[in-house]
Symmetry: D2
Subunit: 135 residues, 4 copies
């Protein structure tokens, strides 16, 4: 398992008329968490596609636990591990940085496929990177 | 339980570089389904907020089942029912209209609160509307 | 010049904490207008890319003229014409359908290129379609 | 005039099927630029709304000058000045950080109003902050 923490600020474009973030943004923040976790693990998510390894989302679950307003700083903690032999799982926790209150949590499960969408064996460099001890 | 079907087309802005829709759009399409289901049930989602009844999202789950490209027509089938005494549940199924292949499915659970975020008893007009036989 | 009118409803995901639509949505609504104008002119915007004709956006200008709330119905009127010999221009007007008040207006200019990004002569079927009398 | 530079990475959710960013994202990146410029000038954009000062967008213009892919780093340079006595203007330049190639540029003009939408005189703290020499 590899764990990583990153920080974002709520954009005005991510708010809605309830004055908090719109619900679908959480999936976009999960993606920011995955990107930065991969970078910390020494993998570029962008270059996995160049290597003909795609990680299409199969399932996602989300819990909405608290509000966050425009410009609030959020801490995204992501954990990545193999889920069975052919899929990857991220568990994510988003917390309001200054209030230390939960904002949202959940997870995503990803297939491992080639560009044609055919499932492939997880490449060695991927398995190794996410099995490394997090810094 | 109240059931309703509505149709959308995938916008260019909803695609991503994989050539299919970006995952968070599904939550936005679920919202389109809720809005149109409520309209069919004789409720305006917009006016529930004016009546001091808010339905904040508490949980969501999504399964990504197939691709959909720009301008493809999608059929969104939404079902709404009370979930316990204090929350509302929508189950949603999104299908590619011409291919009749599954695209995404899942559900959302909503609390029933006032504008201050305090849970309230589900108003009578809401319970009645979603208990009606769908047309 | 070809002119076309289409209708959308403001999605909850398109609102922001000011209670009106977030500004970038207007560019997404312009795109809905272009797509539907093309359909009315007998062209599928999606299939132009299959024909190796891309219409990348070069310039856009927007004026924000009025508010629109969640679920409000908006009328998008789009006009399309050649702009010089190598670019396409859309002029768009968005009006609140029931109040008949202006919401936003503006335009976009598009290059005409192949998939490699090289400018190409506007294909005959494109010029002809947008020169037709609108229905 | 106050000038400020900030950096973002293109999110996967911001790409489209052409493999570059979708056009409306530029307006969202302009907003990130405004937010960070204000922070550097000692103003919190979020708290201006609490002080009953709103800066609704009146006009925007955009030029699309180059591609940017998922995870590319972009440099946003924003300049802010009074535009006449009752409006604020931002000029923005977005450049691909590693390639040093132009990506997009343009500007936005904002009215200065109270929460009811009535134009107000620009508050002293606002005029002073953006007239300061940039660091």
């Amino acid at each position: 398992m590899f764990e990583h923490m990153t920080t974002i600020r709520v954009r005005y474009s991510e708010t809605d008329q309830m004055g908090t973030f719109y619900n679908s943004r959480v999936l976009e923040w999960f993606e920011v968490g995955r990107t930065e976790l991969f970078r910390a693990a020494g993998i570029s998510y962008a270059s996995t596609e160049d290597k003909n390894v795609l990680l299409p989302l199969v399932e996602a679950s989300l819990r909405f636990e608290g509000r966050a307003r425009y410009d609030d700083e959020l801490t995204i903690t992501s954990k990545c591990r193999m889920d069975g032999r052919a899929s990857l799982r991220f568990d994510v926790n988003i917390v309001h940085a200054s209030l230390q209150k939960p904002v949202a949590s959940g997870g995503t499960r990803h297939a491992i496929t080639d560009r044609a969408g055919k499932p492939i064996r997880p490449p060695h460099w991927l398995v190794q990177a996410i099995s490394a001890e997090s810094e």
